[in-house]
């Protein structure tokens, strides 16, 4: 069962990849969907057994590398974390497979597409079920490959190829960090097996390495390196530039890879490595800052984009930021919870957007849409559900997971946690704003498309809307149903030891509070404390008391528990800003559509800055890409062309040609020339011998 679930997609990919042409389109679709569906069905009992019944296990497959100290085996590690991932990935992937039947039905490369999708799913499974870092890296690179192939699926488009290369290269930067992190792990632990590393982690808590002549905390270095890898794959600020461009791929690809699954690999990896991160508070701080900054940054950009897929892409980027700062404050469970719910509603949003694009004859610019809701009501409803879930409106999935993250950030009680909370709240407001901006621009108002397009607008076939409906169910209920297990009361038993509990984090937080309180007390004792200080100290003490009193039991120190007990206003704040965001969108795009333009005209610099995505692409272009091209040109023309080719192949060839021409000249055809040369030869040889003698 375990092995079958993982390898069925590979079987589908190989079959259709090799024989797709012979199978024909329909059979190819059937084979891949069937195998993927089987895998999805199998993932349910796996989840029951592993996560709900708590029987984590590792299925060994093959020996892979056995060289000196390095022992790497192929094995499938099933614990709650990977079971959750397998369940999510397989179902979303299956729905996307089915959806693709409808979406791609005009495309000439259907077997290839289906094979890539299945291949991707297999690699993703390898990633999440890895029991050692090398296998994880295998899956990691594999999904990168599949992503590259799928972004560049329409290889006859210049822009698709450019985007595919960009995604690959930017990810390479992150992968470099990941690979270094793996090397670091091996150096420190002597193994890259996850379980062995985690059990050895406490002894290594204070280990240090000397790097560039400076002593560093070893685990911090390793965790930062691993996180750089996660940043690349999960499109965090700095390495995010590839994600919006990846929208060049077919929309089902965007839904599956660049929203629901692959981009969450980074989140998964940090959660998987959480037992190490727990001993590296500095690395966690980096994660918080990067995550919060990404959440905020991507939300601002999302407010100005006009391409429907790019809006959702930036939204993904932003939501990934949420997940990361949740990880950073130690709420790993909340991050995975959000990962799961996000997979459903983001896939739903993307596939709905695909349905819109499909209806609009491949139009993606929202400025050319409008007034579509009457024509494509099902898609319209689905988009609403997705947006409600994304914005975190109560009852919908996003409400549970996103609020949990924000509350955790607040409850962390550290300066960075509060910063993350503030940025998260701002991003939540913007999320609501751009989601409803998308809804209003696309579905309401007057149609802005030309008449031929409008006449052609049609609801998508059932094969596309059925997966939407299935995802919608997930987007509505996944949060509610899973809440208790993932982050609620049952979470310690649910997760088992697959994820670390934020003990160290809370210790730090507690310490900080303690110091705070102590200082306050000290000040009070000095007798010169004013009323404010008194109040502050009292508050701190009260908070500490509340924590201590409320959670005296085991594992009760965790940030999650504290998150459940934040003040009511904190719990309500996300709702309030979401409502404000929706209202603002209504004002801007329904009531007074002139406002956005006026606002943009009023603050042109800000608008342009945000519209151009904070000029990240331009910056990278100027700092990395163009110098790299220039350097490449110098090395190519000067180094390779002039020097190596010039002296090597070209030079040799030219010399050969010259020598050949000269020899040909000798061959005059005159007997006396020939005879002369013979005589000369004899004379030279004889003289040579005579001189030697």
């Amino acid at each position: 069962m375990y092995v079958a679930a993982i390898f069925l997609p590979l079987l589908g990919a190989v079959l259709v990849g090799l024989f797709g042409r012979r199978f024909g389109d329909t059979l190819s679709q059937f084979v891949t969907c069937l195998l993927m569906g089987l895998s999805a069905v199998l993932s349910v009992p796996i989840f029951m057994e592993v996560a709900l019944a708590g029987n984590a296990q590792t299925v060994p497959l093959l020996a892979f590398i056995n060289s000196g100290d390095l022992v790497v085996d192929w094995a499938l590690k099933f614990d709650t974390l990977s079971a959750v991932m397998v369940l999510t990935v397989s179902w979303v992937s299956f729905l996307v497979h089915v959806y693709s039947i409808g979406y791609m039905h005009h495309d000439p490369g259907i077997p290839r597409f289906m094979a890539y999708l299945s291949l991707f799913t297999f690699f993703m499974f390898m990633l999440v079920t890895a029991d050692n870092l090398v296998q994880m890296f295998f899956g990691w690179e594999g999904v990168g490959l599949a992503s590259y192939l799928l972004i560049g699926f329409w290889y006859d488009r210049q822009s698709a190829n450019a985007a595919a290369i960009k995604a690959f290269v930017v990810n390479r930067v992150g992968d470099f960090g990941f690979a270094l992190g793996i090397f670091g792990c091996f150096m420190l632990f002597g193994t890259i097996n996850l379980d062995q590393m985690f059990s050895a982690a406490p002894q290594m808590a204070d280990a240090s390495v000397t790097l560039f002549g400076v002593e560093w905390h070893a685990l911090t270095i390793i965790c930062v390196l691993l996180f750089i890898g996660a940043m690349g794959k999960s499109a965090q600020l700095g390495l995010h530039t590839w994600l919006p461009d990846a929208m060049e791929g077919p929309t089902p690809v965007s839904a599956l890879i660049h929203a629901a699954t692959m981009v969450t690999a980074g989140v998964f990896m940090v959660a998987r490595m959480s037992p190490l991160f727990e001993y590296a508070p500095a690395a966690l701080a980096v994660v918080v800052v990067v995550g919060a900054a990404t959440a905020f940054f991507a939300a601002t950009v999302g407010c100005t984009q006009t391409d429907i897929k790019r809006v959702i892409a930036y939204s993904t980027c932003s939501q990934l930021g949420y997940m990361f700062f949740a990880l950073g404050v130690g709420a790993y469970q909340a991050a995975i919870f959000h990962l799961m719910t996000h997979a459903f509603f983001k896939a739903l949003l993307f596939l709905s957007a695909g349905s819109v694009i499909h209806a609009m004859s491949d139009e993606q610019d929202m400025r050319n849409m409008g007034g579509l809701w009457k024509h494509i009501p099902v898609t319209y409803v689905m988009m609403w559900i997705g947006s409600l879930a994304l914005a975190g409106v109560p009852v919908f999935a996003g409400y549970y997971s996103k609020d949990m993250i924000l509350e955790s950030a607040f409850a962390a009680g550290t300066g960075l946690g509060t910063l993350a909370f503030v940025l998260g709240i701002l991003a939540a407001a913007m999320t609501a704003f751009y989601s409803w901006r998308l809804l209003f621009m696309t579905f309401h108002g007057k149609p802005r498309a030309n008449e031929t397009v409008m006449a052609h607008v049609h609801e998508s076939p059932v094969v596309m809307t059925a997966p939407l409906a299935a995802l919608a169910v997930g987007a509505v209920f996944s949060g509610m149903v899973a809440y208790d297990h993932f982050v609620g009361d049952k979470h310690p038993t649910f997760w088992g030891d697959s994820i670390a509990y934020n003990v160290a984090g809370s210790a730090i937080a507690g310490e900080a509070h303690g110091e705070d309180a102590a200082q306050a007390t000290h000040e009070a004792a000095m007798g010169d404390a004013d009323a404010e200080a008194d109040t502050h100290a009292a508050e701190s003490a009260a908070a500490d008391d509340a924590h201590g009193g409320g959670h005296g039991d085991v594992a009760g120190q965790g940030v999650l528990e504290r998150a459940h007990h934040v003040p009511l206003i904190i719990k309500l704040l996300p709702l309030i800003v979401t409502a404000a965001g929706i209202a603002l969108a209504w004002v801007f795009y329904i009531r007074t559509p002139a406002y956005p333009a006026a606002l943009a005209a009023r603050f042109p610099a800000v608008y342009r800055f945000v519209l151009n995505k904070w000029y990240f692409d331009e910056l990278y272009d100027a700092v990395f890409v163009r110098p790299a091209f220039r350097l490449g040109r110098v090395l190519w023309k000067g180094g390779d062309g002039a020097l190596i080719d010039g002296l090597g192949p070209d030079g040799m060839a030219a010399v050969s040609r010259a020598v050949a021409a000269r020899l040909k000249q000798f061959q005059s055809g005159y007997v006396y020339h020939y005879a002369f040369l013979m005589i000369i030869g004899v004379v030279v040889f004889v003289s040579w011998r005579l001189v030697q003698a």
């Binding site: 020939y674 013979m678 030869g681 040889f685």
Partner: protein, 480 residues
């Protein structure tokens, strides 16, 4: 009355010579065109001669008062010569008939020339050597001009004759110097004269002249200039003969002369031969690049191959001799196969010899193109084809003899030469066919081509038979 010399060791030669004269009479007096019959008789006689040659394998004998020697080395070389000549006859028959110039003199001349070559191989005396050389050369001059009304053929024959005469002069002059300073023309006597102490300078100079004359016969640089013109001008079947049989005979003679009478002068001739080998390899590699005519190309190719073979001679060791013999045998297969294809090159009945005429052969005549490709890759020395092992053995011998520089330069030359061999492959497989070649009509050519290709392709599976035999032959030369 003096005793009759012991003639039995020369029985194959005697049989061939008598048969040649008999065939000549038959051709002249028999009514009608008897070319075909003469050809078949000639081939049969050569086969008989080959059997006679191999009669007493493992023994050594001398005849004609020590002027004629037979041992395993001479047997090895003679069998190759006979095989090459007989194959050239068989392959050329149809060609001459198609061109309407079939003459019964051709097989007769061929037989006489072969007698000359066999005498060269067995010569144990400067006089005998010269006689054999001249006999084969005179027959070859005539054969080059067998197409009498063709300007290019007569020009080629004339050039060959004039320059050949010059080379003979050089050789004869060298022989006279050697005789003058050593007092004998017998190889054994020369050997003994040199063996004792410092050799007289005159012998060294004479040796250099002899080497020059022989270098002309193997068309080694800088005595190679006649080769391209003669190869191009002569009828293709004659070129096929020139490319193999006389080369085998001349290299064998080269080996015998240097390894036997002049063995004591190894310090002198080793350097000369090394330079000649190097120049030949360079000329063969570079000059062929600019060629458009495949026969000219093969001329330069053979110059290069002779250079490689001479590398083994330059080593001056039994391993070197073995390498040369292996090289010659493999060279025989590669060349015979290649010429089978070149002889068959016709467009609408008209013989063509441009490299561009091979364009698209991969599509129009896939089997022929495949065989040609095998030969070309083999000549370029690409493993695992036979040509690789040929080069391998001579270069190994050179390295073991301390001539590392020569081996390195040889390998580099081989790289350059790969260019024009591969160019033919490229033309055959990647160029658009302009006007396809006619199908290969002669079954003889097809068989020769196919068999050679098989040998060249699968040589690496069973290299032992050839290498082992060559080793025995080499041992016979060095000790005998």
């Amino acid at each position: 009355m003096t005793d009759l010399p012991s003639m039995l060791p020369a029985l194959p030669e005697i049989v061939l010579a008598l048969a040649a004269m008999g065939l000549l009479m038959f051709g002249v007096f028999a009514p009608g065109d008897r070319t075909r019959l003469c050809t078949q008789a000639a081939v049969a006689t050569m086969a008989l001669a080959a059997v006679l040659v191999m009669w007493d394998i493992g023994t050594a004998a001398e005849g004609f008062f020590g002027q004629f020697v037979v041992n395993d080395f001479t047997r090895f070389a003679k069998v190759m010569v006979l095989a090459a000549a007989a194959l050239a006859l068989l392959m050329g028959r149809r060609w001459f008939e198609t061109e309407g110039i079939q003459r019964f003199e051709f097989p007769v001349l061929m037989m006489l020339s072969v007698v000359g070559m066999m005498l060269m191989i067995s010569a144990n005396d400067l006089i005998g050597m010269y006689m054999g050389l001249e006999l084969q050369s005179l027959a070859l001059y005539v054969m080059a001009t067998i197409q009498r009304d063709n300007v290019r053929a007569t020009e080629a024959g004339l050039k060959y004759f004039v320059l050949g005469a010059l080379a003979s002069g050089l050789l004869l002059y060298g022989a006279s110097l050697v005789y003058g300073f050593s007092g004998t023309t017998a190889f054994g006597g020369i050997h003994d004269a040199i063996a004792g102490g410092e050799p007289p300078l005159g012998v060294v100079v004479g040796m250099v002249f002899v080497v020059s004359g022989l270098a002309f016969k193997v068309s080694a640089a800088p005595f190679h200039m006649w080769t391209p013109d003669v190869y191009e001008g002569a009828p293709t079947p004659v070129t096929a003969l020139f490319a193999v049989a006389p080369k085998v005979a001349a290299i064998s003679l080269f080996l015998r002369v240097l390894m036997d009478p002049f063995a004591g002068l190894i310090a002198d001739w080793q350097q000369v031969v090394a330079i000649v080998a190097l120049l030949s390899m360079i000329v063969g590699a570079f000059a062929a690049i600019a060629q458009e005519n495949i026969k000219r190309l093969m001329a330069y190719s053979s110059i290069g191959h002779m250079g490689f073979a001479l590398v083994g001679l330059a080593a001056g060791t039994p391993e070197g001799v073995r390498g040369v013999l292996v090289y010659l045998a493999i060279y025989l297969f590669m060349n015979v196969g290649t010429f089978a294809i070149i002889i068959a090159m016709r467009q609408q009945g008209r013989p063509v010899e441009g490299i561009k005429d091979l364009a698209g052969l991969g599509r129009t005549r896939p089997l022929v193109a495949l065989s040609m490709g095998i030969f070309m890759f083999s000549m370029a020395g690409i493993p695992p084809l036979a040509g690789f092992f040929a080069k391998f053995y001579v270069f190994m011998a050179a390295v073991e003899a301390g001539l590392i520089w020569l081996a390195v330069l040889g390998v580099l030359a081989s790289v350059v030469s790969a260019f024009y061999y591969l160019r033919i492959v490229k033309v055959m497989y990647f160029d658009e066919p302009l006007e396809g070649l006619d199908p290969m009509s002669s079954p003889t050519l097809r068989i020769v081509m196919g068999a050679s290709a098989v040998v060249v392709l699968f040589f690496f599976l069973v290299p032992g038979w050839l290498v082992g035999t060559a080793e025995i032959a080499a041992a016979a030369l060095v000790t005998g």
